[in-house]
């Protein structure tokens, strides 16, 4: 009992004002530099896609970019809420499913409007085997950044928070990678990008209970 009295004294003495948006600021502080590192690594190691000029005119390039960016934003928003002990994932799974569904429709439209000879290129492209690994690699800086943020947070559901934070990092890594990747197949993105993102999500779910414990 006396211990607790002493501890309360210590805590009161240690009290410092907390800025209103302290948690949001920590997210920005952990994520923006991490994303910058990831982008710089991509530019330094791989470089922008060789046909960048033409690609900027292609809807498929922007759909690919939007797919990853949207998943990253939705997952990040959920992670921000889950970082609070009384927070919930909100509509994360519904919104994520809606984004994937929209991508599936884009993929179906592209397949239907293409000759069957093009299917191989649209589905497997020329980089299906290493695409998920590169996404994983470019997601790692962001994963480290988001973990740094969450370790000062107070998530109540460690596995779920780890999973969704991993999805956010994976999608951010995929978005970075999409500036290099020359694939224009929507089915390719739907399958191989999603695999890369999910692998980072799995990493988060596996490490969450230990890494995020407080």
């Amino acid at each position: 009992m006396r211990d607790t009295d002493r501890m309360i004294n210590d805590l009161v003495r240690d009290l410092r004002p907390v800025p209103r948006h302290a948690l949001r600021d920590r997210f920005l502080l952990g994520l923006l530099p991490a994303l910058a590192v990831s982008l710089l690594l991509m530019l330094a190691i791989l470089g922008l896609r060789s046909d960048m000029r033409e690609a900027l005119m292609l809807p498929v390039f922007w759909i690919k970019s939007a797919y990853n960016a949207l998943i990253a934003l939705v997952a990040l928003w959920a992670t921000y809420h889950l970082a609070r002990p009384d927070g919930a994932e909100g509509g994360f799974f519904k919104m994520g499913a809606a984004i994937v569904l929209a991508m599936a429709i884009a993929a179906a439209v592209q397949l239907v409007t293409s000759p069957p000879e093009a299917y191989g290129q649209l589905i497997l492209g020329s980089s299906a085997l290493h695409c998920p690994f590169l996404i994983f690699a470019f997601a790692l800086p962001v994963f480290a950044g988001i973990s740094w943020v969450l370790r000062k947070g107070a998530p109540a559901n460690l596995r779920l928070t780890g999973f969704i934070a991993g999805i956010a990092a994976g999608a951010a890594g995929a978005w970075v990678y999409s500036w290099f990747c020359t694939e224009n197949g929507m089915p390719f993105v739907l399958i191989w990008y999603s695999v890369g993102i999910l692998v980072v999500g799995a990493l988060g779910a596996l490490t969450g209970p230990r890494l995020l414990r407080w």
């Binding site: 009161v12 302290a22 002990p85 000062k152 107070a154």
Partner: protein
């Protein structure tokens, strides 16, 4: 337990604490400490006193180190008892009693340790503040903790009928006060 522990009061103290008000923070921590003892006592059957004190300390410490995660626009008690609940699960998990913790929590969720339930409880506490300590004790033991009349009578050293009469009168008085108050 003679302070009114309403959500409003606790939240006001928390907001002051976040701005660096030491006196408010001390009041907040001392009040929450009492609430935590009640919270953990109700949930840890075979716990030793030392375990309980550890948990109370850990929870207060977490409130301190994680206070940036409190959203000023949301209820304080919901946030705070989420920390308490997390610490309780973590405590059971640490002793390999994971399954036990999950069962207990499952039941707890069923019975709804929700924000409303807590607010209702806080309202009850505030209502009890107006009673004499003896009346408070009886109501607390029999009506809130659900202990039997005979056990309570033994503990307070009164006859069963005296306890019954006393509770009956107290409830009647409370009823009148509520009608008058609202």
């Amino acid at each position: 337990m003679t302070i009114a522990h309403s959500e409003d009061v606790l939240k006001a103290l928390m907001l002051l604490s976040l701005d660096g008000d030491e006196a408010a923070y001390r009041r907040l921590l001392t009040t929450l400490r009492v609430l935590l003892v009640g919270y953990y006592t109700r949930r840890m059957g075979a716990a030793t006193k030392a375990d309980m004190e550890d948990l109370v300390q850990e929870t207060l410490l977490s409130l301190h180190s994680r206070r940036t995660t409190y959203d000023r626009d949301r209820p304080f008690t919901a946030w705070f008892f989420s920390i308490a609940r997390y610490k309780l699960i973590d405590h059971h998990r640490g002793r390999g009693g994971r399954r036990l913790a999950e069962t207990e929590l499952g039941e707890e969720l069923e019975s709804g340790f929700s924000e409303e339930a807590l607010t209702a409880r806080l309202d009850v506490e505030r209502l009890l503040d107006g009673l004499t300590p003896r009346q408070q004790e009886l109501i607390r033991q029999v009506k809130l903790e659900g202990q039997s009349i005979s056990d309570t009578a033994d503990r307070v050293g009164q006859s069963e009928s005296a306890v019954k009469v006393s509770i009956h009168r107290t409830l009647k008085a409370l009823g009148e006060r509520m009608r008058g108050g609202s």
